[in-house]
Amino acid sequence: MSPDQVPVVERILGANEDLAARNRQVLDAHRVHGINIMASPGGGKTTLIIRTAQALQGHRSVAVIEGDIASSVDADKVRAAGVPAIQINTGGNCHLDAVQVQQALGQLSLEGVDLLFIENVGNLICPVAFDLGEHTRVALASVPEGDDKPLKYPGIYSAVDALVITKMDLLPWVPFNLSEFRRLARGLNPDIRLFEVSCVTGTGLDEWVRWLMELTARK
């Protein structure tokens, strides 16, 4: 029997993407805006989420899904700050996927929630490939990581709606060429929204929070 060529032409992560679309429908039905937060480990994701939720108090209601390989350290921190949070442990997986987010959504009361932060596993590579059902994708880049990251991880920089440069208070102490970093990021993604934030001093949080309020108002 001679070999046959069978055309397939099917998206490899089609099953994940279909489920992500269903997650998005669930969020839409509750008028919740989902934001997928991606960064390296230690990039400042949890701290930014907590500071943002505090700044949004009285304006928008926030809930958080925390993704980590192990532990509930992050969800505990977020809950201690008075924000409802569900912890997903990926059991070793380097990224969240739509199945895990679907399960977390089942445990979370979405009534009255305006903004849902989904904190992805700390990683600049794998999370990019997996749609979770979010509406907006945000990457964080912390100053101490260095200004060459767009050169090394073009995939994430070209795939997000916004980029938050965190730990801006460290700028005087570490070599980080801000204008070069901005140029590289914009080169990979001309429409990217750039924010420069320090959660220690509070610098730049206003602009970021204003943008989030605009996003949710547009719903």
């Binding site: 070793g92 997986n93 380097c94 996927d97």
Partner: protein, 132 residues
């Protein structure tokens, strides 16, 4: 012999993460292949043609390694994965020039604008399978 080489390559390339996203991707590929092979009433899958753009961070050897493991005792056991990895191609929003960047500096080599759109390089699908 080659199995050992693939395993070593995998560990070097992917050890920064615990379970690589290649595992989840390989599971998806196997599901797709099994479904299409059964529909075609095939006895065996010989090869799988994948199109994965350069912007997708996939280590080919890792995927083949996982595939060999996951596909044991399935219709796709022993199938060879053929990777087509389209290079990134960009189009300048300002002047319309298209080019293949040499690194992640996506400034237009013709007009100097940093406003590039990705034309190629994000492909991520199973193109076809060869069966008997």
């Amino acid at each position: 012999m080659s199995g050992a080489r693939i395993l070593t390559g995998c560990l070097i390339d992917c050890r920064m993460v615990v379970h690589m996203h290649e595992l989840a991707i390989t599971e998806s590929i196997l599901n797709i292949v099994q479904r299409h092979a059964e529909q075609a009433q095939a006895k065996r899958v010989l090869s799988i043609h994948l199109v994965i753009g350069e912007l997708s961070s996939i280590v080919d050897d890792c995927v083949q390694f996982y595939f060999d493991y996951l596909s044991q005792n399935t219709i796709a056991a022993g199938a060879k994965l053929l990777f087509e990895r389209p290079k990134v191609e960009l189009a300048c929003e300002a002047c319309g020039h298209t080019w293949q960047p040499v690194d992640a500096d996506w400034t237009c080599p013709r007009c100097g604008e940093a406003r590039a759109r990705v034309v190629k390089g994000r492909e991520f699908y199973v193109e076809s399978i060869e069966v008997e």
